[in-house]
Every structure is written in C-alpha cells, then in structure tokens.
Amino acid sequence: MMKTYLEQTLYKILDLPADAPPSAINDSYREAFERYKDDSMAAYSFFPDSERKAILRRLEEAYRTLINPESRLVYDRSLMDMGIMEEENRYHDDSKRLMPIYDIRRHKTHYQWLSKVPAVDNSRVSENATIREILQKDRLTGQDLKKIRTTLGLTLAEIFLQTRIAIGILEAIEEDRYDDLPPAVYLKSFLKLYAQYLKIDADTVVQAYMKHLKGDN
C-alpha cells in the first residue's frame, strides 16, 4: 500500500488540485508535515520509521518542486506528456499583471452612497404652514411627527441612513407603540437627532413628545 501512496503524483501526495496557488501548496505541505513528523502522535506506530521517513522525503520533494515556478513548469510538462494533466488545468498567476496606478478600481462603500441623501432645506421647514402649525402645539404625538416628515417628503429609510436610528424604532415612535420604545434616555437623544435632521427645533420636539408620552400613560 505504501508503494501506491508514494507512486502518486506530487499533487496527489499533497492533496492539491493541479491549479493550486503557492499559498495552498504552503498550507498543504505544513499540514502533511504535521501528520508525519517525528513526534507526530497520529503517525505513531502506524508506519515503520523507514516508511514514515520515506513519506517525509517524498513530501519535501513535492513541496520543493511545486513551490518553485520553474521546476513546477518542468514537472507539469512531464505530467502533460504522460497525458495526466491538461494545459488549461495549469496554475496561472494572475496577481502579477501590469496595471496603471491611476486605474485602481476603488470599491464603493455604501457610506459614500450615504452622503447622497440630500440634507433638508432650512427654508422649506420655516416657510411651511402645516409644519409651523404642528410645532405650535403643546404636545406632539407620533402622528404629528409623521406628518412633518411626510410633508417634507422624506422616507424612514433616508432618516435611518443619516441618523442611524433603527427603522423599527422610528416606526414605533411614529405609531405611538409605547411598548416598543427604547428607555427614555435613548428615546430623548433619538428624538433630538431626528429633529436636528428635519431642521426643526430639537428641544421643542423632545419636550412636547415626552409630555405627550407622560400624559398618555
């Protein structure tokens, strides 16, 4: 059985496909070496020492041949001559192609896309009669806040992208679902952020909404 194992191709010995990159050859050799090295518990008593050493020598030969591009090419050619390997299965190193410095494609993250959400125009808020009317009120309900938002033509998603307040919480505020609201400390700072983004007076909104909450409960 030993003979058949040692007779395998260098790729088989290291458990590698023909197009394995050098990093895979490194990893594979390291693991195989761990398996058969002198004080390996897994190999203990399975082989006579001479057999184990023969395996180690063969592994090293495989590693040395495949890790060097020149000797690997020679070995691949010999396999191709024997008809064991096809030209298209060979490993081709794509990482070293020439590339103009200014053409490196940057990966666009969604943060860049984020900045495209428009800021709210200050004048639109102060000149809008409906919004002014709502803000006159002593208490602000979730409904009122929603009305301000829809008047400005904003979606919850846009507010989330700018303020990072979870959409679920925004919904809970607008729908007055008291059980789903966060603790008061967080709620206040969320409201503040929300108001700041809509360019309305933050203190008024926080006070009026908290008043509405207390009055209801």
Binding site: M1, M2, K3, T4, Y5, E34, R35, S40, M41, A42, A43, Y44, S45, F46, F47
Partner: protein, 311 residues
C-alpha cells in the same frame, strides 16, 4: 431494523463505557427507543455510567440458558426510552465466549425491536471484540491523545477492517481469487487492502467491483476522548487522514471530547454526567459529536447478510 453501533477502543480506560452510556442517554432523550448492550465481558460497568442500579439480570442468563431469549435479559434504566442488557456477572467462564455462543447472541441482537442498539465492547483486539464489530457496517472507535492509545486504535481498526475483508472474501467465494492475487503480487494480502483490491479488479473486474462496494458500505467514525486544552486538536483529524490515505478506508472524525474532572465526579456519584453537569465542557462536546453521529448515513441499518457465516 435497528441501527447498530458497535463502540470500541484499543486501550482500556479511554472512556468506551462512558461514551456508550452518554450517547445512549442522548438517543433516548431524542425519543429513540435505545438499547445498550454491555459486551465488555469480564469488565462490565456500563450500568454504572448511566446510573442504573444492579440489574439482577445479565447476558450470562442467556448464555447459561437460564432464559430462552436475549429479550428476557433486557432491563429498563432510570432514563425513559433507554434499556440495557448488563454484562455484569460473576461467572468466571463467561468472559471468554465460545464461537457458537457469540453467533447465538449476534443472531438475537439484530432481531430486537429497537431504533438504536449500542454495543459497548471491551478493549483490545480479542475475538470477543472483533466478532461483534461484524454485526454492523458501522463502527465507532474511541481513542485518547496519547501514544499508547493511538497505537492500539490503529491495531483495532486494522483488525476490524481486515476481518471485514476476509468476511466478504469468504462469503462470496473470493478466497481463491484472493490467493491468485497474492500469487500475482506478493504484497497483495489483506494487510494491503488497496493493492489487494486493485489486483482482484485486474483478475476479475466484476468481483473486484463487488468487494469495493461492500467495503464502501462501511461507516467508521472516530472520537477523541479526554482531550485536554494543551493537546493538539488536530490529532483525531490526522489519524483519520492517515487511515484514509494508507488503508483506503473512509473514517469520519466526530470531534474532540474535553477532559473534565466532572466526569470523575459523576462516575463516583454513579450518576450520568449529562444529568449531573449538563453544561460542563464534556457534556457540550458530547452533544456536538452526537449531532454529527446522527447524520451518519443509514447504511448501518443494513445488517451484513453474513452474520451467520462469519468465519
């Protein structure tokens, strides 16, 4: 048809009974009708690991013909769905079963109406152990990360595997074929299974195919017990890779089971670890391995049709 899992280990004290008991409890809690059979004759203590009291009945009653069928020696355990045949007995002669007695036991085992039957086998490669591995296509091997233990687990796996090959060869009148193969290439004996297979295939492709199919049915698994934090966690994986590469035998590694003083404590209290410290590292590892074991393909329910004819 029950699924039969023979559980063995090369060396004594690796935790065969403990793991058999724990897997039995996990199966029973999963709703499977489960039977544990203590076949570690002469050193039986499976009942202690599952917290069962002295059963009163045992396998020896069947062997000594006190009862007519093996089913009559089954006793319930404190865990619902879990039953047991104890091997605890005081007869001196019973530790070495005669061949006919083993055949009789094997024939009865496969007829018992359970979902899972776990066989707790004795340490080493005695005939008692190897013969009971022949009941099923699956086998679970327990080892520990110590050279003494890996040495013996290789010995055991080889013995079981070679016995299987012999069994297949005998049953299908392969014997002459195997002899021819050996004449063709002196190394092609049962100790070199992949070479033997190649030679037989050359001589008689049809029968070679058959032998290969039979051997492919085997579902072996390895558990690394008593794994301490400082031990190399890859030893079990490496053992399986070496067996696969050099014996042409597929064996799955089911995982490491942590060494834990809680196990000692549980055994001393005669209570199952899974009940006493269900969140200990060992208990968590056991449940992880158990999940993988359940996925083991259903091949083990296929009882080899050669049970009566083994050697």
């Amino acid at each position: 048809m029950p699924q039969i899992w023979p559980i063995g280990g090369g060396k004594g004290g690796t935790g065969k009974s403990f793991i058999t008991g724990s897997l039995g409890i996990l199966l029973a809690k999963g709703g499977y009708q489960t039977l544990l059979i203590d076949l570690d004759l002469g050193a039986a203590n499976l009942h202690t690991t599952i917290g069962a009291p002295d059963p009163g009945k045992s396998l020896s009653d069947f062997v000594n013909k006190k009862v007519a069928s093996l089913a009559e020696t089954i006793v319930p355990t404190p865990t619902p769905n879990l039953y047991m045949i104890s091997g605890a007995m005081n007869n001196l002669d019973i530790a070495n079963l005669a061949h006919e007695q083993k055949t009789k036991i094997r024939r009865e085992i496969v007829k018992l109406p359970y979902d899972y039957i776990l066989l707790d086998l004795g340490a080493g490669t005695s005939f008692n152990t190897i013969d009971f591995f022949m009941v099923s296509n699956s086998g679970i091997f327990i080892t520990t990360p110590e050279p003494t233990s890996t040495e013996n687990i290789y010995r055991l796996i080889r013995s079981v595997y070679f016995r299987k090959i012999r069994q297949v060869l005998n049953v299908h009148h392969f014997k002459t074929l195997a002899k021819e193969a050996e004449e063709l290439n002196s190394k092609a004996t049962v100790t070199n299974p992949d070479l033997l297979l190649a030679m037989i295939k050359k001589l008689d492709p049809e029968k070679g195919e058959m032998l290969e199919q039979e051997l492919n049915k085997l579902e072996f698994g390895l558990l690394m017990n008593q794994h301490r934090k400082q031990d190399n966690p890859n030893i079990g994986k490496f053992i399986c890779q070496i067996i696969e590469k050099h014996l042409a035998l597929k064996i799955q590694f089911f995982g490491n089971i942590a060494f834990d003083d809680n196990v000692h404590l549980a055994v001393c209290n005669k209570r199952p670890l899974l009940d006493m410290s269900p969140y200990s590292r060992t208990a968590i590892d056991l449940r992880e391995c158990f999940k993988k074991l359940l996925l083991m393909k259903d091949k083990s329910s296929e009882i080899p049709d050669v049970v009566d004819q083994v050697l």
